[in-house]
């Protein structure tokens, strides 16, 4: 059963059509990648799902609830969480506090309880702290919870951003280029980590990714966007051999011919090294 369905979603910025009448579906507990050249409308689509942008036309349905008219925080309450292309941690808060903010919707104490220090508030704070430490352990940052987020190394910041998203206990997690700027070893670790999220926490994962090794390695389904239009959809093998995709990435003409001769099996990994 589909957890997220997009019907004819269109988003325009002035004259530019960033996402054009997009139909999209994602099943529960799968890892799906959206790929496409720069400016294909991938992040805009993410923004439409999470409510950062309002789609001009079409509808988005999350687990039976239409969400395209909801506010961002209401969408978060329903169980969608995301990370960002450029890391957007709360830089001047500690790692622990970042995760605690992530738990916001699952805590219920109000300001009166906080001022009075009521027993309920204190109990809730304690269990929230424990949960946050557990998440830190999960992302292998135990003992570094008191460091300011800005002082963490790059890879740790990426993981912390995911941990913060996990703290909202999402059912659908959107990852915007989770391996951007990582070396091959870190990339490998991140792929394992993403698989663990799905296998152990049973979260549906939708990711935007440029590194083809990652895309082909972990996604069960791939959707290709170009100029806001879906041009292909399928498994890794299907996508690799789809002429439309190859054209979108490499352009029409002689290149396609020469490429397919050399390595007809998988032209796209080669593309990623070219970019």
């Amino acid at each position: 059963m589909a957890i997220l369905t997009a019907n004819k979603v269109t988003k325009r910025f002035g004259g530019l059509v960033a996402v054009s009448s997009l139909d999209f579906e994602i099943e529960k507990k799968v890892i799906v990648s959206i790929i496409g050249p720069n400016g294909a409308g991938k992040t805009t689509f993410f923004n439409c799902i999470t409510g950062f942008e309002k789609a001009n036309e079409g509808e988005i349905i999350f687990d039976g609830t239409p969400i395209h008219r909801l506010r961002t925080d209401q969408i978060a309450h329903l169980g969608i969480s995301r990370t960002y292309q450029n890391i957007r941690l709360f830089a001047d808060m500690t790692a622990l506090e970042n995760i605690l903010v992530g738990q916001h919707i699952h805590l219920h104490s109000n300001w009166i309880g906080a001022i009075l220090g009521s027993a309920g508030t204190r109990r809730e704070e304690k269990s929230a702290l424990d949960e946050a430490r557990r998440l830190l352990q999960f992302i292998e940052l135990s003992g570094q919870g008191d460091l300011l987020a800005r002082n963490l190394p790059y890879g740790a910041q990426r993981r912390l951003e995911i941990a913060r998203a996990l703290a909202t206990r999402p059912r659908l997690l959107l990852l915007d280029e989770p391996t951007a700027g990582m070396n091959p070893h870190e990339t490998e670790e991140m792929m394992k980590f993403i698989r663990r999220l799905r296998d152990e926490l049973e979260i549906t994962i939708l990711l935007i990714e440029h590194q083809m090794r990652v895309v082909m390695g972990i996604s069960e389904r791939i959707t290709v966007l170009d100029y806001g239009v879906k041009i292909a959809e399928g498994t890794a093998v299907e996508i690799q051999n789809n002429p439309k995709v190859i054209e979108a990435y490499l352009g029409r003409g002689s290149v396609v011919g020469s490429r397919t001769k050399q390595s007809s099996a998988s032209p796209l990994p080669a593309v990623s090294t070219m970019r």
């Binding site: 961002t72 500690t94 919707i105 805590l107 104490s109 906080a114 430490r133 135990s142 919870g145």
Partner: protein, 586 residues
Amino acid sequence: MNTQTRQTFSRALRIGLLGGIISVFLCLVGIVEIFGQRSLVEKLISLGHVFLFLPLLATGYLAAKSNSEQAQPGKLSLLLAGILSGLLGGGALTIFLVIGNLINIRAMFIHASPTLYGMLTFGRGLPGAWIPLLVGAFLGALGAVVHLLPPKVQQPLIRGFLGILLVGLFAGLIRPLLLARPGLLEAVGRFLFGETGLTEAGALISFLVISGIVVIWSARGKSVQARISRLPRAGQSALRWSSIGLLLVLALILPQFSGAFIAQVIVLISLNILMGLGLNITLGFAGLLDLGFVAFFAMGAYTVGLLTSYGEYGLAHLSFWAVMPIAIFVAFMVGAFLGLPVLGMRGDYLAIATLGFGEIVRLLAGSDFLGPLLGGPQGVIGIQKPCLGWLGPFLGVGIPRVCHGLELGGPKEIYYLAVVCAMIAAFVATRLRDSRLGRAWMAIREDEDVAEALGVNLIQTKLLAYMLGASFAGLSGAIFGTLVGSIFASSMQLMVSFNVVCLIIVGGMGSIPGVIVGAIALIGLPEAFREFSEYRLLFYGAALIIMMLSKPGGLWPSSIVQRELHVKEKDEPDPKVVSTITPSAK
């Protein structure tokens, strides 16, 4: 001359010029002249001289310091650099002196008076124009020598002189206190302080005491600290509680000992701490710059005025204690009212819109339109004083009211109310900061969009920041109303808002102890020294610039405090608690 020496001297040149400019500036704005009327050490040196010559001493010190991180130039060249910079600084004063004596510049600079020239030359007039030059060179050399001294000698020396300066500044406050108590204290007072400043013996004693403390602390301090940290946990907390208890007792008896003036200064500090803590919620925690904060202060003050006044405009004659919560609530609601329209604004736009609100409230309060209700420019007068004790009916008060108990009539009594309120407010602010709401505020400050994507309801959270912040200011205004006994629209100036913003920035944005430190530095000091009040804005400007350059985090930055709080916690999750997010076994 090698490059290094050249660098040293060119730097000394620059610093010397800067010092000279600062000295001349202090002369021209009149600080030197005004402080010249008070002496630091009787018949020897006035506070004006201190202001005049401190920059020169500092130039010598800095000129010798500037290069010492790299390979040390020779001590002699450092000394020469110090003399050079001092000479330049003194030279600037000499040039100023000569120009001032030849041309009449008083038309432009009213403070360029003969008195000032007299101070510059120690009473010799134009023929003594060489004196500042000589003094500058001497002070420059002195500054350089102080820098070259080994730290063991240097620290007590510097601290000791700072001690004299401090005691000298406060002399006008301390002396009357001592003289008011006949007996030993009076004798001590007469021995240490003269009519206008410290006596020579007083200066010597304060120097010796303070440098002595520095020497002993540097010799023994480490081992004492180590011994404290070796104490068992119970012992440490006992130590902490007993020091808190000691402070409380001191706070309790202070106004009885210090008299009304200091009590009044502390009340004003407390009122500003209250406002600061409130604005610290909106600005420091949630990052919403509010330049019209005085509006909420006005709400609290007018609520108390209208509901307790015996004057023409009093609507009811409730007791202050009954009105205080009402005032807080009114400010709380007005916070929502003013917060709603600016919810979507960020940064500069928000600042300008709130600035407008502050002015609107002041103008409305003073307008003819609301005059019949609020008294217009004449204001609300005859505000009740709080009364402790049995007041018969708590709510309704008869006319004229009789207070069967302790009436908090003057600053010495209101002191307790203000200080207790400020302490409670600090406690509440701390609790709020460490709560779910506090974290949501900080998340909004850091990145509004991301906070919203994590499920933080921006409307609700921002409104709460405005409302809770406003209620602190409302309380502050309520106490102000009863302290002064009358409220005028003209006391709700824009400056009140700016003061609060300044004290937060100087103290440290988002830091609760920072608010207290900032209020003491920016409100307390200018209140305590009458001479300063004229230069308050100059002082604020200088303080803000210096803070931004040297300590952008403020006097007491918030992150340090946080670090200290969290380090004590254990960092492993409790294994017994069953997680709902993460799998229990890895």
